[in-house]
Amino acid sequence: MPEQEHDCKHRHEQQHDRDKIWRKLGLTDREYSMIVGQLGREPNAVELNMYSVMWSEHCGYKHSKSSLKLFPTGGPRVVQGPGENAGVLDIGDGYAAVFKIESHNHPSAVEPYQGAATGVGGILRDIFTMGAQPIAFLNSLRFGPLEDDHSRYLFDGVVSGIGGYGNCVGIPTVAGEIYFEPCYRGNPLVNVMCVGVMPLERMVLGKACGIDNLVVLAGARTGRDGIHGVTFASEVLSDQSEEDRPAVQVGDPFLGKLLIDATLEAVDNKLVAGVQDFGGAGLTCALTETASRAGTGLEIELEQVPLREEGLQPFEILTSESQERMLFIVDPKNLDALEEVFRRRELQLSVLGRVTGDGIVVVRHQGEIVAAVPAESVAGGCPAYEPQSKEPAYYREQVSFDPLALPAAADFGRSLLELLASADIASKEAVWQRYDYMVRTCTVQGPGGDAAVVRLRESGRALAMTVDGNGRHTYLDPYLGGMLAVAEATRNLSCTGAEPIGITDCLNFGNPEKPEVFWQFREAVKGMAEACRVLEVPVVGGNVSFYNEVGGEAIFPTPVVGALGLLDSADQQCTVGFCREGDLICLLGPVKVAFGGSQFLKNTYGKVAGKPADIDLTMEKNMQSLLRRLIKAGLVSSAHDLSDGGLAVALAESCLSGKIGAVLDMPLSDHTALELFGEGPSRALIALDGTIIDRVLNLAESAGVSLIQLGRVGGDMLLIRSGGDTIVNLELDEIKKAYEEVF
């Protein structure tokens, strides 16, 4: 961009054109004046580029900062909350779990394979940057309906990309969720979570501490891929977005794998004082964030950055998002040892410069200073907006919709089969078979259950993990939807027996500058925060993805919760499948359900409407705590969360997973369809030995949680009776066919 350099030298004459530059870079006039104020002068073109990427919504959290403060972020296990590369929780025995979720929605919309692959690579680097060995990936995906060819293309590309990176790098993809709604047609959601484990004392932060320490770059050469990727991620998508493919990075999982191993060895041998990965906003972000966190400055020689091709301009080198690069802050006396660690893996290091004490990041190129900016201003000086908020018109209309006024379903067996065969509920085995979910031989519960369970070789304990979100619920009632998302994620952990210890969230919304969208965001965050407070799970990290819109149409507000739970031993885990003939099947938790936002309503009537069932968070907490106690005491043989499709779908899933049938007698009801397919929180289906039922009933009673006996495990049918009538009468083979032959 020679014109820009030229402009700088002729600032006064060219003022008019320069106006266009900051706007073109996504900054408002007001933001530009703030930059001038903080800098004490006008920025040159290189500096303006640095500001523009760091003050983008993606890096600067301009529209979300003030709301994110609502989340509870502390707790006895919290070692590191939000603000670092990933959250860190104490998991006992001197070990810590490190985890985070991040979105790669926009890149995946225009280049699904690389968009998803680099999403995996990016979140992976966040984890090992902290000094942790990555142990698992999870993902939460949303697409348009599969009948649509473009949606199918995106779906297939994203799944290939997730597998392509994760399989190669040798970290198992252990759990996930996939939903389909027309609102995600042009703007799919690709949220990837990574979990790692490390000895507590190994934790290393992204801080450029120690004056005269060296700033060292490792990994891939820098090219023109992903230039201004964060700016691209901070705009709404349009018909022209596919032309932004160069803003999408290209992943190299082989190099990623070498970098993990080298970085962890360097951290183990205490050769590095600070570590930062290159993510959004590339070198600019790595430099200014590490300096800003430590309150230091940096002196950088840009020619020391190894380039993939000649002729890259300073602003390109500074904003490129080329993948598989790491920044280390190194005491000069450790440089030789660090080089040795990398040389053994045929990797090069480049010393870019040193840490200074003045808080300024000075960048030189070919002998000239091309940028000199205060790290704190670039990394942390961007404004926090309090956008206008307005309740959308649809909200009141939907809430007053009464699904029970719709004509009742006649054939419950048929409705169940249709639900099981819907893309949202049907078995995703064909998808997760494309991910290596077993490598590292620690996956003791893989995909397909309520949560995955990964054993820890180091301590004998196990981590349970899950990702959950429901865009329909959050659309219909953002506050309630936010609470339900946290409740469901933690409940899924509790169904394995694990105690929920923390969450990471990925908040996918439309354009926050629209008051209706911001209202959805604010309400959802409030609901999530309230649930986190009552359920005592801190939020230790996360990611906000705004501008998920195409043609002015926003996606459903979709907060996705990644939750982590702890089991004292992998042997204590519980699974969803019925496994013992003759076991009693019981419903644990309240019976209150609704059709609002349910899968049944969507399937049967093609409607996303009504109000989802309310949640009593204290009841949720008591129910989960009771469930964990029952599992730990070995009193239940299976537990399955009741969610999409309600009781009937959960029953079918527990039968299929255990390859055994069930016979149930439902209490008489005015609305049988609601009993079978209505959805409500705080409920789980459990199976237990009939001889201990009194003991379990007593425990439930003293915990104040309802427990209803529904029937028994056995046979090769799912038979549900109500009063004297048989209302569902299906062979397991028939159920299996419906559930397993969709993808």
Binding site: K257, Q433, R434, D436, V439, T443, V444
Partner: protein, 237 residues
């Protein structure tokens, strides 16, 4: 016994093989770097799974040209036992230590799932603790596992009993459904002529503990242990 696990750049099941030997078999184990020119004393060399050099070329092709392969060839030439799992199998075919080749899966997708493997030759050091026709439940996890050998070679492999494992269904039938990748004649494991080098696509190291879904893979390592014990007895006599 002492096992060696070869680590190439991009190997990622090296850790699993290592832990299998140390924590499940309770035997000695060492990693061996891809750039060594000679091997120490080992009873079994494992080439583990993974994506050597990213498998950006043909799977295993670059790893097959690293210095350690020369040493592995010498070791095998002296009768040493070599086991290639998944990517390790691909490396061994690329290195010419095993016959045939592994193509892209016929469905063009990566496949990770449990399969049943039928023992076709129970007379090898790797299979002597099993019986012909035994079914072993083990997982596969690969994108390039479609075994191919031309008809002439296939006949030869059959005659010399070099086909060691085949994909089968739960009742032992060699069905197309049981075959996850289109491998010719459902073949998933082959040996060299002398029976001391074995490659297989399924992962026995991932099927060595009940907690992981199956312990059937252990029979391969029990066979190797039995093989060395019998040699000791013979040597003693």
């Amino acid at each position: 016994m002492k096992f060696g696990v070869v680590v190439f750049p991009g190997s990622n099941c090296d850790l699993d093989a290592y832990h299998l030997v140390r924590d499940v078999l309770y035997e000695q184990v060492e990693y061996i770097r891809y750039d060594v020119h000679s091997l120490g004393n080992y009873d079994l060399i494992i080439l583990p799974g993974g994506f050597t050099y990213g498998d950006y070329l043909r799977s295993g092709a670059i790893a097959a040209r690293t210095p350690v392969i020369g040493a592995v060839k010498d070791f095998a030439g002296r009768g040493g036992l070599v086991l290639g799992i998944c990517n390790g199998f691909q490396v061994l075919t690329e290195a010419g230590l095993l016959p045939g080749a592994l193509y892209r899966n016929d469905n063009l997708q990566f496949r990770c799932r449990q399969v049943y493997v039928r023992v076709e030759n129970a007379g090898l050091p790797f299979t002597r603790a099993s019986s012909r026709g035994d079914l072993l439940k083990m997982p596969v996890a690969h994108g390039d596992g479609n075994y191919y050998a031309p008809p002439g070679l296939l006949r030869e492999l059959e005659e010399k009993k070099q086909v060691v494992f085949r994909y089968a269904d739960q009742s032992g039938e060699l069905t197309a459904r049981a075959n996850p990748n289109g491998s010719v004649d459902n073949i998933c494991g082959v040996s060299n002529r002398t029976g001391n080098v074995l490659g297989l696509m399924p992962h026995p190291e991932r099927a060595a503990q009940k907690a992981l879904g199956s312990a059937d893979g252990l029979v391969i390592f029990e066979s190797v242990a039995e093989y060395f014990k019998s040699r000791e007895v013979q040597g003693g006599a």
